[in-house]
């Protein structure tokens, strides 16, 4: 069976400006004119595949490469090496075909905040070539299922809460009926009720349409609840990839029950320590 997503040896390097370690004025001036750049491996030769209808989670600390990977899949970045295909279409050579099959919800609800939900959705519908007014029925139905009141649909988005904005972002992504839905930290900053609404909806969509989902998150409970398989990424590399239960069994000794959070801390402990947290997750 064809994979929904195939990632083969994908690599992405960014060049970031670095301070030169010198106090001399001449060197500082030189550094301003010719800044020093250092390569950072954002995605370091990743190979994996996602089956159609699967919910595939990616867990990782900030700056570990989650969003870069999502951007590579969503054709917003070009990989430096390797190959990524979506339902058999190459994200570089067949960008247009891939874009027809995917949609994405990012951590920040990317909208024209001065426009209402319906105006933003109308823009999205036209961009994706959705004909007639059928999209309005679909959008209202999705927003209703997400628990958004219809009187909010004509208010400027800047007047709505973050939770409501994020629900509209989810509705916008699903309006186009994507085969592959990319969710980049979709519930970050949402209250528990809104978070639960979005999670339920993702599960429901998979049930109803068999939508394949790639989900990045910091929320271990969310990953545990939603994902069929989870990859833990650190410094652009997968340090583990398995089912939630499989990951837990990695660090479980004598059959004791462990949480996904403990697995995450154990696998990325080095990063957590360096970011000011100790291995048990408490701030130091």
């Amino acid at each position: 069976m064809q994979s929904a997503l195939e990632c083969c040896d994908a690599r992405k390097v960014f060049y970031v400006k670095r301070e030169r370690k010198s106090t001399s004025m001449l060197t500082r001036l030189f550094a301003k004119v010719i800044p020093k750049y250092e390569p950072v491996e954002a995605v370091d030769r990743l190979t994996f595949h996602v089956k159609p209808g699967e919910i595939f989670g990616i867990l990782g600390p900030n700056g570990s490469g989650k969003s870069t990977l999502i951007r590579l899949i969503s054709t917003l970045l070009l990989p430096d090496a390797g190959c990524i295909t979506v339902f058999g279409h190459d994200v570089v050579k067949e960008r247009y075909q891939v874009r027809k099959l995917i949609n994405r919800v990012s951590v920040d609800a990317a909208f024209f905040k001065g426009l209402s939900a319906m105006e933003n959705l109308s823009y999205a519908a036209r961009l994706y070539g959705l004909e007639g007014g059928a999209w309005q029925t679909t959008a209202t139905d999705i927003l209703c299922r997400l628990g958004l009141e219809s009187d909010k649909l004509h208010e400027p988005l800047e007047d709505l809460s973050r939770g409501m904005q994020q629900k509209i972002a989810v509705a916008r992504a699903l309006l186009t009926r994507p085969l592959l839905l990319l969710l980049d930290e979709p519930t970050t900053g949402l209250d528990p009720v809104s978070k639960r609404d979005v999670q339920d909806f993702v599960l429901e969509e998979r049930e109803r349409r068999g939508t394949t989902v790639v989900l990045t998150t910091h929320d271990m409970q969310e990953a545990d609840r939603l994902c069929d398989r989870i990859a833990v990424i650190d410094h652009g590399k997968f340090v583990a990839l398995d089912t939630p239960e499989g990951l837990k069994s990695l660090i479980s000794t004598n059959g004791e029950s462990v949480t996904l959070e403990e697995v995450f801390f154990s696998l990325t402990g080095k990063t957590l320590r360096s970011s000011g947290r100790c291995e048990n997750g408490n701030a130091v």
Binding site: F14, Y15, T68, R71, S74, T75, L76, L77, L78, Y96, R99, K100, I102, N103, R104, S106, D108, A110, F111, F112, K113, G114, L115, E119, S122, Y123, A124, R126, L127, Y128, G129, P156
Partner: protein, 271 residues
Amino acid sequence: MAPMLDFNRELRRSYALVERNFNLIKRYLGWEVVFMVYTVVNTLTIAFIGLSPDGSGQDRVLYLVVGALLWGFLSVLFHEVAESVQWERWEGTIEYSFMAPMRRFTYLGGVCLFAAAYGAIRTVIVMCAVVGIFDLDLGSANLLAGLIVLLLSSLSFIGVGLMAATLPLMSPEKGSQAAHILEAAILLVSGVYYDVSVLPVWMQRLSKISPATYTLRAARAALLDGASLFDIRSDLLVLLATGAILIPLGLLVFNQGELYAMRTGKLKRSG
């Protein structure tokens, strides 16, 4: 039949940009009115410079008004096209818009359609205000020739605007600033309010590469002296040729700029 269907579909998609931008204008209507009033007052101020205390100088007024109206239209056209990427970046929607399965030609076509419609509406409003205040004699004006000059010059300005729109893709921090400098340079050397012969020699050389120079010369000949299309054919040919070169070049440059942004990660909001 299929190419016609494709064209209609792409045109409908282009309309996404037109509808979105007019919705934004409706949302910020108060500010739109403020900018409009400022533009009208600014044009009137420029026109009054040409008037002598004894009321004479109508020709000078018309000379200045033609410059102000044309520049008003062309600068809006340039500005809307050149700022399209930066505007999406500020709003945080650039990744969403660029990820849509829409040909970049269609996206930019929508930007240009809106810019032309918006520029035309603004120019007509300013023109009505000027005609209401000054008793301008347009009896000998060749309005059709003036309109054709405007249409042909739009092509060149769209081409330059497309290239300027690429700058924020290359440099999120400084790209937009560079587009403003380019716009200011065109204003300076193109003879919007004065004849280019008053400029220093080195600026006169620059005026020759600005499409606005040919636009203003041809438009003034048509509107002030009633010149026919045949009389202004050399300027029209220059504008047509410039547009025919600059639009494909602008699209090519934009395409390369987008690929550069996709390689270096500069599409995202923060750059």
